[in-house]
Symmetry: C2
Subunit: 96 residues, 2 copies
């Protein structure tokens, strides 16, 4: 199981432009057969800070997501409105 | 609904010390009556980077968690082994 946190930092003046792009990205990604969870959140202290919390069976499924038509079409459109580079963390479940 | 990401950065030489502290913190927090989700993950690229993904009904429930006996006892013990300050993001679900 692969857990992912992907953070985007959007120009505050462009938030209204990216909202429908994010909505379509979430809707289409959840239809991917290998997607376990794909949830988007917004920082309560920064309306331009968007945080995806994702779950995939493995790296191959995440790679397939990044090659999907909706990803390769929508993500570059969203990225035009970034104020800084996004971040991605790939994680394993904790085991003591 | 309140979603939380809390990140800890532990000295790599002290990871073995914090693992049982994290295990107890997760176990006891999940027993809190207001806890919806409290999952801990480890960065695949940094074994000292621990990431909590939490869900609470509201801020009051998170505040109660931070006052719980297990939190006030274990978190200062964990923090002794930090290599840098942790971060916390409080989030709302995305709504287009």
């Amino acid at each position: 199981m692969l857990k992912v946190i992907a953070e985007d930092f959007i120009n505050p003046d462009h938030i209204g432009i990216v909202l429908p792009l994010y909505a379509e990205l979430v809707e289409k990604t959840r239809l991917e057969p290998l997607c376990i969870a794909y949830d988007l959140f917004v920082d309560q202290r920064d309306a331009g800070h968007f945080v995806f919390i994702e779950q995939w069976p493995d790296h191959a499924a995440l790679d397939a997501h990044c090659r999907a038509e909706h990803f390769t079409r929508l993500v570059p459109q969203i990225n035009r409105h970034r104020r800084s580079e996004g971040t991605v963390i790939l994680m394993d479940p904790f085991a003591a």
